[in-house]
């Protein structure tokens, strides 16, 4: 039987929203306070949802030790307590939470083999959240 497992993680990082494709005035108008050249930070909550048949011998969609280990190694160690603008993944991309969703989804999609990736959801603050289900996917 197919089930969906969601795990939440937290990390803290800083960023500055600034696009090289825009003038200074456009950047200021578009990003407002988020365009402050010194950056600012958030406590991000990351939700990863994976799915698959529940293995009869373990009762699991996937072993949490595998998921936690992968997220720790490939995502938290890469982004926690970093300035996102200095991380390779955002060398050419504005580190909005939309783009963070896509970057994290792609890391999981490429490397996590123990269950099917359904979606990545981020809470940037308690008021803002973002989801990415991959391209052309049906939302449950």
């Amino acid at each position: 039987m197919k089930a969906y497992l969601t795990r939440r993680y937290m990390f803290s990082a800083s960023h500055r929203l600034h696009s090289d494709f825009m003038s200074e005035a456009e950047n200021a108008a578009t990003y407002g306070k988020c365009n402050n050249p010194f950056g600012h930070g958030h406590n991000y909550t990351l939700e990863v949802t994976v799915s698959g048949p529940v293995d009869e011998s373990t009762g699991m969609v996937c072993n949490l030790m595998d998921l936690d280990g992968f997220v720790q190694r490939e995502i938290l160690e890469r982004f926690d307590h970093q300035n996102l603008n200095t991380v390779e993944e955002f060398a050419r991309t504005v580190p909005t939470t939309e783009n963070l969703c896509i970057v994290v989804y792609d890391i999981l999609q490429r490397g996590f083999r123990h269950a099917h990736l359904e979606k990545v959801r981020f809470e940037e603050t308690m008021m803002n959240s973002f989801e990415y289900w991959g391209e052309n996917r049906v939302i449950k």
């Binding site: 039987m1 197919k2 969906y4 497992l5 529940v54 373990t58 009762g59 072993n63 949490l64």
Partner: protein, 136 residues
Amino acid sequence: MVYLTRKAEFSASHYYHNPEFTAEENQRIFGKCNNPNGHGHNYTLEVTVKGEVDPRSGFVVDLKQLKETMSREVLEALDHRFLNKEVPEFFTRIPTTENLAITIWQRLSPRLQAAHLHRVRVYETPDLFVDFYGEA
């Protein structure tokens, strides 16, 4: 179509162990959860039903009936129990959050009359939950 979700809480203990695995395999696969004396969680259950709104009552489902069914079929069986030893489904099935969601679905689904069960969500902790939609 409107979706209605009712929450409930229960506390229970469990441990993970497959008698077909060796002691080393059980330890490697289940880690701390393999402690045979068990450990506990405060679970949060969310039951979502769906249906058309009845034009006379304005309800998708009679919430009182849903609450009673959840209480009778799920909470009385699971709350303050050692799942492996007291709940028949878990005599043979490992009481993971995945299997809890499936078991709760199987207990509720035949007992809900008018409402159509859409999703069972079980939180083991605020940072871990499983959804089951009745999919094979």
